[in-house]
């Protein structure tokens, strides 16, 4: 009746009976999250740390097996840092900078990512998804011990939902039978095949890519492979139309073969057939164990709307992309970043319920950007027409000798956070000399300070960031405590702070949202302008 759909890497939240199951009337919760994957747990961390009681339901008792998402980008790590679990991720993760591109029988060029200096976190890390999830659940346990109101219920499967105007009613199945609860708000984080989306009969449309990919995670017996990313177009070794090699922690390598649309999955998944491809790619005689393997296909699609009254969707349940460019889990974390503070303000009655519509607007915009980027990578890696294939190979041929063609080679673009240009919450940009990268809507770039980093100082509340400008230390705007972070260009000897936030300006006052996106900026503090911008950023007009 409640069978596992997959085996577990870590059993972290075994079923326990809840007093809700014995209540005479359904117990009402402020927020219920369906799905204890990375996005669900991150949402719980965000809301829980705001003091909002949050309940996570998962139909399993822990984290599923398999490396799955393996690239976690800087913005994701910065968000995790705010939740208190970024450090263990980076300590466990693998950082790489050198990539090599191959075509047919040879390497055509290599590149160094040369990440920008002066950030607390690297551009991204490679880390198996179960570790990413485990570090977050461990953080939940730490917080629970100090009274943070987060609860995770394993083997609690949502079976039915009734959506009312101001709450939802949930029928839940457990190993000891069904029970019913209510929630003021429900957040669907139950993955690409979201049962919740199905129960509500909601659309999920987009483009299906007719190709399949075989993943093999292998542990090398002799690990003398360098920590590099290899991407192979049309390899003459014959094991796939393209092949990707990526390093993960624990001496594990991800090999990803593009194997075509009409494949016999059962046949391809046989160990001898996986080994045949691996041996062709790596050369005979190399010893390795296969740790995990899987065949995946993908779509690029999203729901039309991520908000349906009191039900919000986040992560893969709301949008799905191709894996090229690591925009799945990373964009889901940005959903959480966007959703958490808004729902917090609404629940504390510091913002109107309509603020949640801006979650829909901003994250649909971001999903479209992610779908566009990952579709372009996919179209380059797996050309869909003869002429597209001709152009792709012409680019590769030219790229071997000429740098000009290399920006056209697209084996996945690094996942960057979305700038909410023309977003509904953006205020004025009254600092024309300042750089575009910190314009209203943009996520704050990190910069080094004598005693830490800029993002450490921003935290997760509304901040008035002043750089060589005066402002009051504290300002109460309709119940929202606006906290000043006072900086000077002298706080950063490297000049990165000035370059990223001032440009040609000599002073700046920036209103920063709790998700560390810029809401508005000026050259000097003007109380009425700041009050207006805070109100606007909270959806109060």
């Amino acid at each position: 009746m409640l069978n596992d759909r997959y085996s577990l890497a870590f059993k972290l939240y075994p079923y326990e009976r809840s007093s809700d199951q014995d209540a005479a009337q359904p117990v009402r919760h402020p927020v219920v999250i369906v799905g204890g994957g990375p996005i669900g747990i991150a949402t719980a961390l965000d809301l829980g740390q705001q003091g909002i009681p949050v309940l996570v339901l998962d139909d399993h008792e822990g984290i599923g097996m398999g490396s799955r998402a393996i690239c976690f980008a800087k913005r994701t790590l910065e968000i995790a840092d705010r939740y208190g679990c970024g450090r263990p991720m980076v300590e466990k993760g693998v950082v790489w900078n050198l990539g090599k591109v191959f075509h047919e029988d040879r390497q055509i060029y290599d590149f160094n990512l040369l990440p920008e200096a002066g950030h607390k976190y690297p551009a991204f890390i490679n880390l198996q998804q179960p570790y990413f999830e485990r570090f977050m659940v461990e953080r939940v346990r730490e917080l629970q011990a100090t009274g943070t109101p987060i609860e995770i219920r394993g083997k609690n499967r949502l079976d039915a939902i009734e959506v009312r105007d101001d709450h939802v009613v949930l029928d839940i199945m457990t190993p000891e039978g069904p029970y019913r609860i209510e929630a003021d708000w429900l957040i669907g984080c139950d993955g690409a095949s979201s049962p919740l989306r199905g129960m509500m009969g909601l659309d999920f449309e987009g483009r299906v890519f007719q190709d399949s990919f075989l993943i093999a995670d292998i542990r090398m017996h002799n690990d003398d492979f360098p920590t590099e990313r290899w991407f192979w177009f049309e390899p003459t070794h014959g094991a796939g139309a393209s092949t990707l090699l990526h390093k993960q922690p624990d001496d594990v390598w991800r090999v990803d073969f593009q194997i075509g649309w009409n494949v016999d999955r059962k046949e391809e998944m046989k160990e001898e057939n996986i080994r045949r491809r691996l041996d062709a790619f790596l050369g005979e005689g190399l010893g390795y164990d296969i740790v995990w393997s899987s065949i995946y296909t993908f779509q690029c699609r999203r729901m039309k709307r991520f908000r349906h009254g009191r039900v919000l969707f986040a992560g893969d349940s709301a949008h799905q992309v191709s894996p090229f460019g690591a925009r799945g889990a990373n964009s889901g974390m940005q959903d959480v970043d966007n959703l958490g503070w808004k729902l917090g303000l609404v629940l504390k009655e510091q913002a109107p319920e309509s603020l949640m519509d801006s979650y829909d607007t901003e994250r649909c915009f971001a999903a479209d950007e992610n779908i566009l980027n990952s579709s372009r990578s996919t179209d380059f890696i797996t050309p869909k027409s003869k002429i597209s294939h001709t152009f792709r190979n012409a680019v590769l041929q030219l790229a071997e000798k000429h740098a000009f063609a290399r920006p056209l080679v697209n084996s996945g673009r690094l996942s960057l956070p979305c700038v909410y240009d023309n977003g509904p919450l953006n205020g004025e940009d009254a600092l024309p000399e300042a750089p575009a990268r910190t314009r209203p809507g943009a996520p704050c770039p990190d910069a080094p300070l004598a005693d830490g980093f800029v993002l450490d100082r921003l935290g997760g509340d509304f901040v008035l960031l002043t750089i060589d400008a005066d402002a009051p230390e504290q300002l109460d705007v309709g119940g929202i405590a606006l906290r000043r972070v006072k900086l000077s260009v002298n706080d950063d000897a490297t000049g990165a702070l000035a370059e990223r936030y001032l440009g040609g300006a000599t002073s700046a006052v920036l209103l920063i949202r709790p998700d560390q996106h810029v809401a508005a900026r000026w050259a000097a503090f003007d109380e009425s302008a700041v009050r207006r911008a805070v109100g606007h950023a909270c959806g109060k007009e």
């Binding site: 380059f380 027409s385 002429i387 000429h402 740098a403 000009f404 920006p407 056209l408 673009r413």
Partner: protein, 63 residues
């Protein structure tokens, strides 16, 4: 004046997607004809015979 051999296209991904999309639904002959027209338009933009010669020579090496 020399042929530019360093990256020079603004928004390379956007340009590439637009280029491929221009061929959507075309037959092989129609695609070849589109490419021919595009090359002639771009050649006119370049104008300079020495640069065009360098471009032709570079493309021929790759064949």
């Amino acid at each position: 004046m020399d042929l530019i051999l360093t990256p020079n296209i603004t928004d390379p991904d956007g340009f590439y997607a637009r280029l491929i999309a221009a061929h959507d639904g075309l037959s092989d002959e129609e695609s070849a004809a589109l490419n021919a027209r595009l090359i002639l338009v771009l050649a006119n933009q370049i104008g300079n015979a020495a640069v065009l010669e360098q471009a032709l020579a570079l493309a021929q090496v790759g064949k």
